[in-house]
């Protein structure tokens, strides 16, 4: 019973990642692709938390925290570096 419930849960979360990958592939513009990779960041964090719930190993929370932090930094950096104009000097 528990196996089936957790399997269904992991299937839903994996479907989430898969749909994100489809949008990255189809995305007409670059922004759409980056948005979908952001979705992959959130979905990956959710998957790690689901692993934490299933196995009760404490290190998954640290992994999730690092994942969330760096996915956000990458998103902001994409918006500023790729979409913006370049200027000299900080």
């Amino acid at each position: 019973m528990m196996d089936f419930v957790y399997g269904l849960l992991l299937f839903l979360l994996m479907l989430n990642l898969l749909l994100g990958l489809v949008r990255v592939f189809r995305g007409p513009e670059l922004v759409d692709s980056m948005m979908a990779s952001l979705l992959l960041g959130t979905g990956g964090t959710a998957l790690l938390l689901a692993f934490f719930k299933i196995t009760k190993e404490a290190y998954y929370i640290n992994l999730a925290l690092g994942f969330a932090l760096l996915a956000g930094v990458v998103g902001v950096a994409f918006a500023i570096i790729i979409l913006g104009k370049s200027k000299d000097g900080i």
């Binding site: 994996m14 990255v24 980056m34 990779s37 290190y59 992994l63 690092g66 932090l69 500023i80």
Partner: protein
């Protein structure tokens, strides 16, 4: 044993297939910006795969360093380089296909000879209590194979100084926005604290100096993206970048002079020496990776 599958492996199959598709798209896409985005997705997915393979230390390092910091570097490269994607020569394609095919045959042949056996794992677990840390990976990294890690710190330091010696004036990208400024300022103390916590966790659980340092480098990059300079003098940053190599080799030499041997810690002092080394590697990794991103001291 090697060819068994079960119901629980569906997750592995799906993750692996997604990893392969993202790698293929990253290599095949015409637009270099898009292939950079796909590379970041590849990094995230491979982090999840390391988790599935019971290697959480590698997962942490892959997510933080292999995906995010490499992604930041590749974004800068993609924006700065205006080279067109030319079509390859037919001769090159044939040659590359031939070489790849040869390696495929060789590796498939190698796959048939693989068998399950006890490796040095039991040796590590037997001697873990002599190392001064409770985490097996960090015991290997900082005590049993300390030379490797010393040389690794040397490699990053040398790479960054090689990069600086090119004397290239890099363009700095920033966005002068009050929201981003406020957020980066608010989150920086939290990031410093969390990266120290990850470094401290390295002594008994999943974590370590490189992971913590790379996290701090991510926070510093966010700080710089808001258009702010670090409130530190260049000389202090220079000391920070050299701290890892300096402290590590000094401690090794100290024990060599005391008669224990280079990088061989006595049992009662091993935990404290490993902690000092981890702290120094933490600060120097953070500032080295930040320098690699910004391109100047």
């Amino acid at each position: 044993m090697l060819w068994q599958t079960g119901k629980k492996d569906m997750l592995d199959l799906a993750l692996g297939l997604m990893l392969f598709i993202s790698a293929l798209l990253s290599l095949h896409s015409k637009d270099t910006m898009k292939s950079g985005v796909f590379f970041i997705i590849f990094g995230f997915l491979s982090g999840l795969i390391w988790v599935r393979l019971e290697a959480p230390d590698v997962a942490l390092v892959e997510i933080i360093l292999g995906s995010a910091i490499t992604g930041l570097l590749i974004f800068k490269l993609v924006k700065g380089s205006k080279q067109k994607d030319l079509k390859a020569f037919t001769f090159t394609r044939l040659w590359a296909g031939f070489i790849s095919f040869l390696i495929l045959i060789f590796m498939l042949f190698h796959l048939t000879t693989i068998e399950r056996q006890d490796r040095i794992a039991s040796l590590v677990f037997e001697n873990l209590h002599k190392s001064g840390v409770d985490s097996a990976v960090n015991a290997v990294l900082l005590n049993f194979r300390g030379y490797d890690t010393l040389l690794e710190v040397g490699v990053i330091t040398l790479a960054i100084f090689g990069l600086l010696s090119l004397g290239l004036k890099r363009e700095a990208y920033y966005w002068d926005n009050p929201l981003l400024k406020g957020f980066s300022r608010l989150s920086l103390p939290f990031i410093v604290f969390f990266s120290l916590y990850i470094t401290y966790l390295g002594t008994f659980s999943v974590g370590g100096a490189f992971q913590g340092g790379a996290l701090l480098a991510g926070g510093l990059v966010l700080f710089a993206l808001a258009g702010q300079a670090l409130p530190l003098k260049a000389s202090i940053i220079y000391i920070f970048t050299m701290a890892g190599l300096g402290v590590f080799s000094l401690i090794g030499l100290l024990y060599a002079l005391l008669g224990y041997g280079f990088l061989t810690y006595p049992l009662e002092l091993s935990t404290i020496s490993i902690m000092i080394i981890e702290l120094s590697i933490w600060i120097s990794t953070a500032f080295l990776l930040y320098t690699a991103y910004s391109g100047k001291l």
